[in-house]
């Protein structure tokens, strides 16, 4: 599996007088490889989340292509692209992403149930135990803290068993101990299960887990030399 973006950009309308359109992401190309953790850093508003959304198949670029293997994601019909995302792309969004009417366990198994697939409940329980939220399986999302909800979203994405996992600020609400647990788990997910992991963060904790490190500034991306060495 290889996910490749070719010359993608995103412009948004902003009523600012002279220049109404601005580049959230300037034209760029990038490859996300299996068995690796790619980390994208940058300040708030630099375009990191916009780039992640385009790569994950949920935000169509203004120009350019996103290819998963040889398939141009945005040339697919909605139902085909949706199913492909369900089967091959996992996303941990930056925002709170629980469905309020479902329990924690139901939320975690939701991707599988959307298409009537086998729901990996046992695997979900193991991940919940690893992340310390196994006692919350039957709790409703409103009963959870921000950190617990974040871990729930990560487990949901991992249990979905995607080829590529996108995580937007996955450690945002977590303490140091849980941050290490989560980043370590994502690293193992990439290397042990031969998956691609793409992490967007503005914190430094993830840098040491990066196999490839990119920095984004004002919509432009640059490959960084990883001082941490990219492994544990």
């Amino acid at each position: 599996m290889i996910l490749k973006a070719e010359g993608i950009s995103k412009t948004f309308f902003r009523n600012t007088g002279s220049a109404n359109y601005f580049y959230a992401v300037s034209p760029l190309s990038i490859e996300i490889l299996p068995e690796s953790v790619t980390v994208l850093t940058g300040r708030s508003g630099s375009g990191k989340t916009t780039l992640l959304n385009m790569l994950a198949g949920i935000l169509e670029p203004t120009e350019g292509k996103v290819l998963l293997d040889d398939t141009d994601l945005y040339s697919l019909k909605d139902d085909v692209l949706s199913r492909l995302r369900n089967e091959r792309i996992g996303v941990v969004p930056q925002a709170r992403s629980a469905v309020d009417t479902l329990t924690v366990m139901e939320n975690i198994l939701l991707p599988a149930r959307l298409y009537g697939k086998h729901a990996p409940a046992e695997e979900a329980r193991q991940w919940m135990e690893q992340f310390g939220i196994d006692s919350l399986a039957d709790a409703m999302p409103r009963e959870l803290s921000g950190g617990e909800l974040r871990r729930m979203a990560i487990i949901r994405a991992v249990v979905q068993d995607p080829d590529i996992l996108f995580a937007d600020e996955p450690t945002g609400d977590l303490d140091d101990e849980n941050t290490e647990k989560v980043l370590s788990a994502l690293y193992s997910f990439a290397h042990d299960q031969k998956k691609a992991v793409f992490i967007v963060t503005h914190e430094n904790d993830a840098l040491k887990y990066a196999d490839r490190l990119y920095k984004m500034e004002k919509g432009r991306i640059g490959l960084q030399e990883n001082q941490s060495g990219g492994a544990l």
């Binding site: 959304n53 949920i58 139902d79 949706s82 969004p93 709170r96 309020d100 009417t101 959307l114 949901r156």
Partner: protein, 398 residues
């Protein structure tokens, strides 16, 4: 996806109950209103069938047409008499095919009833209006001192009722007509003559002249095919002195006009309620779009297609509509059946609840309509929700 819709409805009880109640209100208005209109139409058809004649002859001085009409519509008791020869004379008029006499007697108070009842005597050999109706409940003919009672007369088959101290055996209960005929008691002419004599003994005279025992109250006329009823009506009026010929159609027309007015009012009310409720439902679903954008964005993020999301939103609204429809129909049915007598009296029109199969069809139709309207009201919301952008929606909801 359907199990997710059901969980959404169950676990957001406030929102679900509000939507269900709105559609229940719609269903209640449609089913209740339609039942009343159908019952009135049914009653009118029943009245027309029961009268079964083209023209009715009554004594000129006996009753006004309105009160004569009330006898059939509301069960008002009354009696008036004319010479029995009117029947034979009517048969001599060109165009008259059949002439069936009836004799009316208003009881004072019979054992069977807490109210006065109307006794109607028929001539089995000439009658063509009442007997076909009696035949549905009775095989054979009415014998001496035997009566058939309307469905609203409180007497069981085999029971003896006393009218002017005369013992009469109930041998049939008639099917409902939704008219005043339901409160009447029917007997043959021999029985009627005995009852008239008994009434005479009580001081209630039916005689037109001092020595005339042979009387009738009304003669039902059937006009031959090919003859103009109005022409026959005029001929009868010309030939028969002190007799008024009333076209049954004109009686029915009065009722029909009243019924049309009531139907129009009810229909207008239903339409207004539907427009109001539809607009409220539409607004409710539009408000829900904002509340549920994040939830749908999450589903989209996890791989739900636009079509799946649209179907889910429509399924939820349809389920609300179905549930509301069932509740509304049940409440309306309980109301319409429980207050049938009250509705009948307050409208003053023949009122006959339709058959079970018609009621079931109307109920099922109303429930399906409620679901369809609920789905239609949510269609725009479903479309908006299916097109929610996960990136934007989740960021806004953060």
């Amino acid at each position: 996806m359907s199990s997710l819709s059901v969980k959404n409805l169950k676990r957001k009880p406030g929102r679900t109950i509000a939507l269900v109640l709105l559609t229940a209100f719609l269903a209640l208005a449609v089913f209740g209103g339609s039942m009343v209109v159908l019952s009135l139409r049914n009653g009118l058809q029943s009245l027309e069938a029961r009268l079964g004649a083209d023209i009715i002859l009554v004594p000129s001085e006996a009753q006004s047409k309105v009160s004569f009409q009330n006898m059939f519509l509301q069960g008002t008791t009354g009696a008036f008499y004319m010479d029995a020869s009117v029947t034979e004379k009517a048969l001599e008029v060109p165009g008259v095919e059949k002439a069936a006499p009836q004799v009316f007697l208003a009881s004072l108070k019979a054992d069977c009833c807490s109210i006065k009842i109307q006794v109607i005597g028929i001539d089995p050999e000439k009658d063509f209006t009442v007997q076909p109706w009696i035949a549905r409940s009775l095989t054979g003919e009415l014998g001496e001192m035997e009566v058939a009672v309307g469905c609203k007369v409180e007497a069981d088959i085999g029971e003896i009722i006393r009218i002017y101290e005369q013992r009469c055996k109930v041998i049939a209960r008639l099917e409902p007509t939704g008219t005043g005929l339901d409160t009447a008691v029917y007997c043959n002419m021999d029985t009627m003559n005995q009852l008239l004599a008994a009434a005479e003994a009580k001081g209630i005279s039916h005689k037109i002249t001092s020595d005339d025992d042979s009387v009738v109250s009304a003669v039902y006329i059937k006009v031959k095919d090919g003859y103009d009823i109005d022409t026959v009506n005029t001929a009868l009026t010309g030939k028969l002195r002190k007799v008024t010929a009333v076209r049954t159609r004109s009686m029915i027309t009065g009722v029909s006009d009243s019924l049309a007015g009531v139907s129009r009012t009810i229909t207008a009310m239903i339409i207004v309620i539907w427009i109001l409720a539809f607009v409220i439902l539409l607004l409710a679903y539009i408000l829900i779009v904002r509340e549920r954008s994040r939830e749908f964005a999450v589903l989209r993020l996890l791989g739900a297609s636009r079509k799946m999301l649209g179907q889910m939103a429509l399924l939820e609204s349809s389920l609300c509509g179905l549930t509301g429809g069932v509740i509304g129909v049940i409440i309306a049915a309980v109301g319409v059946f429980s207050f049938a007598v009250l509705i009948e009296h307050s409208l003053g029109l023949p009122y006959l609840i339709p058959t079970f199969s018609t009621v079931m069809l109307l109920g099922i139709g109303t429930i399906l309509l409620s679901a369809a309207v609920s789905a239609a009201a949510s269609a725009f919301a479903a479309w908006r929700l299916s097109r929610v952008n996960p990136g934007t929606a989740l960021r806004e909801g953060n």
